[in-house]
């Protein structure tokens, strides 16, 4: 549907802000370089204040970068105003024009492009069908539910057939259930329209569910770029591992190494691991162990003591102590397994390839 899918490239982009209280300047975004492939769905993910929205607003043109250059396709767009950029944004607050009905909201951008009446009508009708709002053209925006407003905001951006579609936390005003439905919808519509999309969120499950690529940002800097699987299973830092899902961190030393395989000493226990080629013998390293990758059993790599055991329905939630380290374990489908009680001694068991070494 889009005229032309466009990629987005950021080259060493920085944005400096001034703290209004201390009058000190700081980097909201620092030396960020990324490349987003045409037609892909990319999420900027991070805690609040990490610079993700600033990055998005720089791509849209509302903020001007202090260093670096932004490219849309092959065109450098730093000096273009938002109305001259081939981007369309879906705002967090939807920002529908309250004095227009649905039809006029969606047609607004088309009218500015001086298309003839018939074409506008065709396009608007088509796009409203795509987002599931056909027949509601004459409703005013205040007569719509949150989800419907969201769809109008999406339709209004899509109908312009922009090179890139920008989303600024579009689902944060919806309730939890609707959020899940809408994110699937957004993904479906993006695929159908075949459009490049950049999506800002702080909700990691949302990011996992809809993205081709996730860009994790921390304090204005890109922490990791990768597919959801790469980021989840091979986080590059404790921050990433902790931000995406839950993680246990076990500190230790590499005591044996054979190619990619090796052995790490954790409080006196030898733990076989994989993916240690980056490390040398006697290096300090941290094992990242996802709670669902570990289980409690009669034998295993790490001896432990159970301090919390809690039935959650689909899983049993354990907190155990390995030496001085707290390890969280979620054991799925506990019905047919032995349930450990608080005070029990047990072992933490896991497969060598399901721990990730940092």
């Amino acid at each position: 549907m889009a005229k032309e899918k466009k990629g987005v490239r950021l080259e060493h982009v920085s944005k400096i802000y001034e703290d209004p209280k201390t009058k000190k300047e700081f980097y909201a975004v620092h030396d960020t370089s990324l490349s987003i492939a045409p037609g892909s769905f990319v999420t900027l993910l991070g805690p609040s204040g990490c610079g993700k929205t600033t990055t998005l607003r720089m791509i849209a043109g509302f903020e001007s970068p202090d260093e670096g250059e932004i490219y849309l396709g092959d065109e450098a767009i730093n000096a273009l105003t938002p109305n001259k950029r081939d981007t369309a944004m879906v705002f967090q607050s939807y920002a529908l024009l309250p004095h227009y009905n649905i039809y006029d909201n969606v047609a607004y951008g088309l009218k500015l492009r001086k298309l003839d009446r018939k074409t506008i009508k065709e396009k608007v009708t088509g796009i409203l069908k795509l987002v599931g709002l056909e027949g509601m053209e004459s409703r005013m925006t205040n007569q719509l539910s949150g989800g419907q407003q969201q769809r109008v905001a999406l339709a209004r951006a899509l109908v312009l057939e922009p090179g890139v579609l920008l989303f600024d936390e579009p689902l944060s005003n919806l309730d939890a259930k609707l959020r899940v439905t809408m994110r699937t919808e957004i993904r479906r519509i993006q695929q159908e329209a075949g459009i490049t999309a950049i999506y800002v969120t702080h909700d990691q499950s949302e990011a996992m569910a809809i993205s081709d690529q996730i860009i994790i940002m921390e304090k204005g800097v890109v922490a990791q770029i990768g597919t959801p699987q790469e980021i989840y299973y091979h986080p590059k830092s404790e921050f990433v591992a902790d931000f995406i899902g839950e993680a246990n961190f076990l500190k230790g030393k590499l005591t044996a190494k054979d190619g990619t395989r090796g052995t790490v000493d954790i409080s006196g226990n030898a733990v076989p691991v994989e993916g240690v080629d980056r490390f040398a013998l006697q290096d300090d390293c941290t094992l990242v162990l996802r709670p669902e990758s570990a289980r409690l059993s009669e034998s295993g790599q790490l001896p432990c003591k159970v301090i919390l055991s809690c039935f959650m329905g689909s899983y049993q939630n354990y907190h155990v102590m390995v030496g001085d380290n707290l390890v969280k374990i979620t054991d799925f489908n506990p019905k047919n397994k032995k349930i450990y009680e608080v005070g029990d001694d047990a072992f933490v068991a896991f497969d060598a390839d399901s721990v990730h070494v940092l």
Binding site: A60, P65, D66, L80, T81, P82, N83, G109, L112, R113
Partner: protein, 573 residues
Amino acid sequence: MARTQSAELDRKKFFADPIMVTTIVVLIAFLTLFILYPLAILLVDSFVTKDGVTVDVFRRIMNMPNFRKAITNTLKVGFLVGIASALIGLLFAYVEEYVQLRTRFLGGLFKMVSMLPVVSPPFVLSLSMIMLFGKAGIITRYLLHIYDNSVYGFWGIAIVQTMTFFPVCYMMLKGLLKNIDPSLEEAARDMGASRFKVFTTVTLPLVLPGLGNAFLVTFIESIADFANPMIIGGSYDTLATTIYLQITGAYDKEGAAAMAVVLLCITLAMFIVQKYYLEAKSTATLSGKASRGRMLITDKSVTRPLTVMCAALSLFVILMYVCVPFGALFRTWGYDFHLTTKWFVQVFKRYKGLKAFRDSFVLSLIASPITALLSMIISYLVVKRRFKAKGFIEAVSMLAMAVPGTVLGIGYIRGFSGGVFHTGFLQQLYGTGAILIIVFIVRSLPTGTRSGISALRQIDKSIEESAYDMGADSFKVFMTVTLPLIKDSFLSGLVTAFVRSITAISAIILLVTPQFLLITVQINEFAEKGAYGIACAFATILIAITYGSVLLMNLFIKYFGTSRKIGVTENES
């Protein structure tokens, strides 16, 4: 770290929008030429003489006993009026917000009292004061049989100004009291404080900054007031009237300019205190909307005296206004109470009433849409855009609020009668209707801008951003999004500007040429001559026009507008 690149890019983006750049340039030129320049020329004229820069002119005017007297007179009146208005305003606001009113009648009275000063010319109360309490006053002569009562002078001005300005304080303080969380007072009651103790230890400290704010706003208004002291002052001269006489009577242009500088300094100093110190403080106590309704006081020992006081004051004010149409209907006020239409007939037959109304009406009608549009553009730029000259635009358009009309009038005479900086440039403007329209615009701009700014602050920034993002340039965004969203504020700005223009006098009276007859100037002239019948007839028709236009606007907003009702709130300056 350097923010040079973003500054450079922002500049490029800014200049990519020629309509906006042009608008800003034109706006800055307008504000500089018609607000800053007239004030600057006053300074130049009073300091620079043939012999270079001196303070001779100031020394000369300071040596005039009547000028020194005028300063103390003005400050004395202003102080008393400020205190009295703030206190009466507080009384009204307190009764409205805290006391259970027994009848709807009283609520109606309150509404009327807050409405009347908005729609009436600023000096009608002086007229009615003279007609009620003067030598031929109904009350003094017929009820009390006092035949030599003099209303002219200090007390006349003070009472009339208090009656004119206290509704403004009432509206300001009402907003403040409404926003006090009732649970604060309930907590104090709960801890054992008496109702009076609660008032003095909780309510009063909370509204104190607001009270100070109301006091200063009224103080400034009183000092700047020209028409009331003119009519009822008698030999008691204030700064505004002294300046007027200095230029129209003594033709002392340098002296008048220097006096205007003195007056400006006083109002400006107070304005700065009010704007940057008290206003911030008095809004800080507004901690958002009250969570629930307040338990109104029903105790008769409290409600009775308070409501009686308010009702008496309201009736007094209303009586004063009612006096005006009757003044126009009696054959000879104070002597012959037969009803007659002869004054109205004379207005139109002998005193070119039709021309006066047409001139006033047409000039105000031209000025008001320009004012409304300008103030909306200024508010849009101030609230929604980032650019270098923004602070300048905001400051200058607010500065106009602190400039008394008389000062502006003198500034225009000095600034434009010989062209800009006496070079002859733009000299042809002087004495035309255009300069009158410009004065109308400058005088109403701050009120319109204030209401526009507060309306725009309530609109989510991303609504305009989304339109911008979809491809609209600034002009399109303003016309298709901003303006429709603040339609109500625009409309009320339109009518407020119209009402303010058609009732304006202080600056206009200095600039009007015989080719234009303005109603307010006519009223002033006839009132000074003692021709109260004619003055009242003019004033009655004027009030009818302004009241009619406010009614029309409220009707229009009710059927076509988006929300709130306007007309009363606009006066809270």
